[in-house]
């Protein structure tokens, strides 16, 4: 069970938030206006065809029963009726098809926007959120927009258009019956709000219960081995049953109330039909002498009756789709929160001022602060020559990583100028090795070709051997074409980092930046990483790494001490 949470965090903040989310959803809708309009158009065609169908049905019955016209003479009307039915079905089908396309476009659009934001954010800032969370936003939250755009949004328009058309027709047939329907119309927004509130509450309640229950259940499944080791599985099963049952009772209490609001809509629809039926019946009998009742015929009476449920149907559908709106609002809020995170927008796009020589890395009075009062690097000027092996050392938090991130172009300095071999940071390809290795599901070759698509098989095998993964490779059947992680068991942290290093080997970059390349490695991996870096250094690559590791410090031909916002030779 999740720990008890406080409900809601301030209604005022969520209200403004909701407005922003609604606006964002509308913006997405605007970009796909055409699809939404076509969906509504198809729905309207189906709605009009329904009205025509009912019209002809009533007409046929009137002619056949009252005027006793022979069936044969009714054939054209019957054909018209069938045509209306077919058009109605085609309209319905196209509505579904267009709605599906619309939501498809919207989701693609939303994904593109999120990814653009990721790219603008850069790897350092992005790393602040867990990959699982980001993936959930990109996949699940975007999926949650589906119902809103495919069902709710078109239905909002249809719930106005179709009832309005029916209302006009009914007024023309019998204004008193029209008034019955109209009377319920101003009430409709009212009880829609009621239903909406109920649905929202229901949705929220349902969601909370489900997530608590599954949390509780998953917790036990996660610890199943432990429960087995202590022989306590039966007790745990009983606990799951008891807690589930407890939640059921609580949930049912709220559901009983929440369902009432949707019963109101149902009640209105039923009573309106009943009232109209009885009014028409009495009118036809001539019992009602005022108003238009004496003009009623079987045709007009029957048509009004047949149209009455169609008047309420779009609203009922809308209320069924209400949870789509709630889901989209929830997901939208989280996506918007991500998109509203500030990004470094002042990225220089071209070299400003003087261009430095092509064989040096030059930092010119560079400053970087994370908060206004906390300068990590202050007015830093530095020249590094091509082919140098630079070790950055100093206390943690001293700015080593920041300096690397600036050189990589993952961050932008507040002030100053950085040029690498006469180019801007991040404008050319270079090698990066973070503290966590990175691998994708697939073969060894897939993993290396991720960054170097045209690498040859030999180059890949050589690179892997260079980082000491040779023995592991030999133990696999298909060499570089065997899967990296087999049987669900992945590589160790050290092996993963070596795999990343192999990517650098195969790519042949001039500049290689490494953030604590040996931190947290087991001794085997450490030896291989050191050896690999030595090979790269010998090959004349420019290496810049942060480290505390003694052996790495000796590898460098220049050691820089980064501390208190300053950098000096150690």
């Amino acid at each position: 069970m999740a720990e008890p949470r406080a409900d809601g965090d301030g209604d005022t903040t969520s209200a403004t938030n909701q407005k922003a989310v609604r606006q964002w959803l509308l913006e997405l809708a605007r970009g796909n206006r055409l699809w939404i309009r076509s969906t509504v158009a198809a729905g309207t065609v189906a709605g009009i065809a329904t009205i025509v169908q009912m019209f002809l049905l009533a007409r046929i019955i009137h002619l056949g029963v009252i005027d006793e016209v022979p069936v044969a003479e009714l054939t054209p009307l019957f054909l018209g009726l069938i045509l209306a039915i077919v058009i109605r079905a085609i309209g319905q089908g196209f509505q579904a098809r267009l709605a599906a396309r619309c939501s498809e476009q919207v989701r693609r659009d939303a994904r593109r926007r999120i990814h653009k934001h990721w790219q603008a954010t850069g790897p350092v800032e992005l790393g602040q959120s867990s990959a699982g969370t980001l993936a959930r936003e990109w996949i699940d939250h975007v999926e949650a927009l589906h119902g809103y755009f495919a069902r709710f949004l078109p239905q909002m328009s249809l719930a106005i258009i179709v009832p309005l058309l029916i209302l006009v027709l009914v007024f023309w047939l019998d204004w008193l019956a029209g008034i019955f329907l109209l009377l319920s119309a101003p009430l409709i927004p009212l009880f829609m709000a009621l239903v909406g509130m109920g649905a929202e509450k229901l949705n929220q309640q349902h969601f909370e219960t489900i997530s608590r229950l599954s949390g509780q259940f998953l917790d036990k499944v996660r610890g199943l081995t432990t429960l087995q080791l202590f022989g306590q599985t039966a007790g745990a099963a009983e606990l799951i049953r008891k807690r589930s049952d407890h939640y059921r009772r609580i949930t049912m209490k709220t559901l009983r109330v929440a369902f009432l609001s949707s019963a109101v809509l149902e009640f209105f629809a039923s009573v309106a039909i009943a009232v109209i039926a009885i009014y028409i019946g009495f009118g036809l009998l001539g019992y009602i002498t005022y108003g238009p009742a004496d003009q009623l015929t079987l045709f007009s009476g029957l048509l009004i009756l047949l149209l009455a449920p169609e008047f309420f149907q779009p609203l009922r559908i809308l209320s069924q789709h209400y949870h789509d709106r709630a889901a989209a609002m929830g997901a939208g809020a989280e996506i918007l929160e991500r998109l509203n995170l500030p990004v470094d927008s002042h990225r220089p796009s071209e070299l400003a001022g003087k261009v430095s020589a092509r064989d040096v890395i030059e930092l010119d009075s560079v400053s970087k602060a994370f908060r206004a009062d906390h300068e990590v690097l202050l007015d830093l000027s530095l020249v590094i020559h091509k082919g140098d092996v630079i070790a950055l050392t100093g206390p943690s938090g001293g700015g080593k990583s920041t300096l690397l991130h600036l050189l990589a172009g993952f961050m932008v300095p507040e002030k100053g100028r950085i040029q690498l071999f006469g180019e801007l940071p991040g404008s050319f390809r270079f090698g990066w090795l973070g503290q966590k290795g990175f691998l994708v599901q697939g073969t060894w070759a897939d993993n290396l070709r991720l960054t170097t698509p045209d690498a040859s098989d030999v180059a890949i095998a050589t690179a892997l051997r260079n980082v000491g993964l040779g023995p592991l490779l030999d133990s696999r059947k298909d060499g570089i074409y065997s899967a990296v992680s087999e049987e669900g068991q992945g590589l160790s942290g050290g092996q993963a980092r070596r795999l990343s290093l192999a990517r650098i080997f195969v790519a042949d970059y001039d500049l290689i930046l490494l953030d604590e390349p040996t931190a947290g490695l087991d001794s085997d991996s450490e030896v291989f990483v050191l050896e690999a870096l030595r090979k790269l250094a010998v090959a004349g690559k420019t290496l810049i790494f942060s480290t505390h590791h003694h052996a790495l410090l000796t590898l460098a031909n220049r050691v820089l001490l980064v501390s208190g916002g300053e950098v000096r030779d150690a």
Binding site: I66, W118, G301, F410, F438, L513
Partner: protein, 537 residues
């Protein structure tokens, strides 16, 4: 479809509830159809009588029965709908409990080594959605389909009574086709798309996570754009398949509605023939087509539900696979333990399925009462060895040991109270016992100062505790257990050297007379030992 059987059996263990729920739905549906049909009958009747009255012919009409019926059905539709929703949601929540408990029991009987592959947040979240797919099976699929068939049958019977057999049969035939299109048809046309959906989505999730984890490297190599474009294509494939399925559902729904409307047209046309020969009256002629139009609402929910059936079957398949029973994998020949031996391993092979063995011809004999330390660096297979001793990992060879208790390298605490977490080790322990053991691991003060003391809630995966505290709770739980053989894998993770030394000393006293096998990466991480062996990976 066979995969659904065990879950359907489970659902049908509550026949009474399902029946009552079904009857309530039926009453709702019939009220809706009857409201319109009776209204149509009433209007036609009054129109005819009205004409006679206007012509000065003496005619009478019973207004009370139809008027009352209309009012009754208007109210009963609302009331039954409300009751049906409340009652059936209660049923769904009960089924949810049943399914979770059953699944848990099955998982706990399932092969342990299999479950090793199935772990991690992704598998767990998938498990949740798979269970959710099953617990709405009754309300979304079974009940609506059964009732749609029943209502259809009732309307056909009505047609045969009011009209004639031939019309009834033809109407029945058209409706049957409509029903098949809305159910089986949808299932067959979306089955493959729906079954694939979940796998595709998981593959996509893995790819996105990899993309983000490698974002820095990909940015450096200038490949984020290319890789993202590839991801977009994957995502697009998932959504476009979904759109395809949605479109098919839409067309099937439209098709079944078309047929329902056609059956009403046909009934009207056939009715006129009967009307003109005087076999049926005008009001009755109107009643049947209107009742048929009402069937549309009964069928409306079916295509959506059947579009999800393919995914539901896939969910059931996955759950069944996760619950596969233990297929006697371990060919361990049990040996009789000599009286003074606590653990005996002869010539065992330790290996993970599909991997090269970690140890072969491994021999070990631990005397009762002995304190054995096993040291090996990370990756040397020491935890696998401990798993083998605890029989979590099937071993080949001869292995025998006393009743044992095992502290796994991974700290596993439950979202529950401290008491509940500790009692796992020894269900009958008294509060005094618990406090004593907390004292030993130096947590007594920590929890004595909490307002709830032993009932302090340990949040999600014990996250209210620091790593060292959580480790000590797990250690305390193991120390509470009376088993004569104690296996401890890295017992002191996250503890500083001084705390470790103090706890280790107290443990020596507590574990007096028991056999202890402790494993760690270095000698200073071990409790007191009589003998130490080193593993070379």
């Amino acid at each position: 479809m066979r995969d659904l059987k065990p879950w359907l059996d489970l659902i049908f263990k509550r026949p009474g509830r399902l029946m009552v729920g079904g009857v309530l739905i039926l009453a709702t549906l019939i009220s809706g159809i009857a409201l319109l049909a009776v209204s149509g009958w009433f209007i036609t009747e009054t129109a005819l009588v009205g004409l006679l009255l206007a012509a000065g012919v003496a005619a009478s009409i019973n207004l009370y029965v139809p008027g009352g019926a209309i009012r009754f059905f208007a109210v009963s539709r609302t009331v039954f709908r409300y009751l049906e929703r409340v009652y059936n949601h209660d049923t769904v929540l009960r089924l949810l409990t049943d399914i979770r408990v059953a699944l848990f029991q099955r998982l706990s009987l399932a092969s342990r080594s299999l479950r090793g592959e199935l772990s991690g947040a992704q598998w767990l979240s998938r498990l949740t959605s798979d269970v959710d797919a099953l617990d709405t099976l009754y309300l979304r699929l079974i009940a609506p389909t059964a009732l749609a068939a029943l209502v259809t049958f009732l309307v056909v019977v009505l047609a045969s009574v009011l009209f004639d057999m031939r019309t009834a049969l033809l109407v029945g035939l058209i409706l049957l086709v409509a029903l098949v299109i809305a159910t089986v048809g949808v299932y067959l046309r979306t089955r493959h798309l729906a079954a694939r959906q979940s796998d595709r989505q998981e593959a996509l999730r893995t790819a996105v996570i990899e993309h983000i984890e490698g974002f820095a490297e990909l940015t450096a190599a200038g490949r984020t754009g290319k890789h993202a474009a590839w991801l977009m294509r994957q995502a697009h494939q998932v959504t476009s398949e979904q759109a395809k399925a949605d479109t098919r559902v839409g067309w099937h729904l439209a098709g079944s509605h078309l047929l329902i409307n056609l059956s009403a047209v046909f009934a009207l046309w056939a009715g006129f023939a009967l009307f003109q020969v005087g076999a049926v009256s005008g009001p009755v002629l109107v009643l049947l087509p209107i009742a048929l139009l009402g069937i549309a609402e009964v069928y409306a929910m079916l295509p959506d539900a059947f579009a999800k059936l393919g995914a539901t079957v896939a969910s059931a398949q996955r759950l069944n696979r996760d619950c596969r029973a233990n297929v006697a994998t371990a060919d361990v020949s049990t040996v009789d333990l000599p009286a003074d031996t606590a653990l005996l391993a002869e010539n065992i092979t330790v290996k993970h399925a599909g991997y090269a063995p970690l140890f072969t011809h491994f021999n070990l004999e631990v005397q009762a009462g002995e304190r054995l330390g096993i040291i090996g660096h990370s990756g040397s297979g020491k935890s696998s060895l401990a798993d083998t001793f605890a029989e979590l990992l099937p071993a080949q060879g001869k292995l025998a040991c006393r009743d044992r208790v095992y502290l796994t390298q991974k700290t596993v605490l439950f979202e529950d109270t401290l008491r509940a977490n500790l009692l796992l080790g020894s269900p009958n322990a008294s509060d005094t016992d618990l406090w004593r053991i907390l004292e030993l691991v130096e947590l007594a003060q920590r929890f004595a100062s909490e307002p709830d003391q032993l009932d302090t809630w340990l949040g999600s995966a014990g996250n209210r505790l620091s790593g060292g505290e959580a480790r000590r709770v797990a250690l305390a739980r193991v120390l509470l257990n009376p088993a004569p053989l104690v296996i401890l894998d890295e017992p002191f993770t996250g503890l500083d050297a001084e705390t470790r030394a103090r706890i280790s000393k107290r443990m020596d006293g507590l574990l007096e007379g028991k056999t202890v096998v402790s494993l760690a990466h270095g000698p200073d991480a071990l409790p007191g030992t009589d003998r130490v062996i080193y593993l070379r990976g």
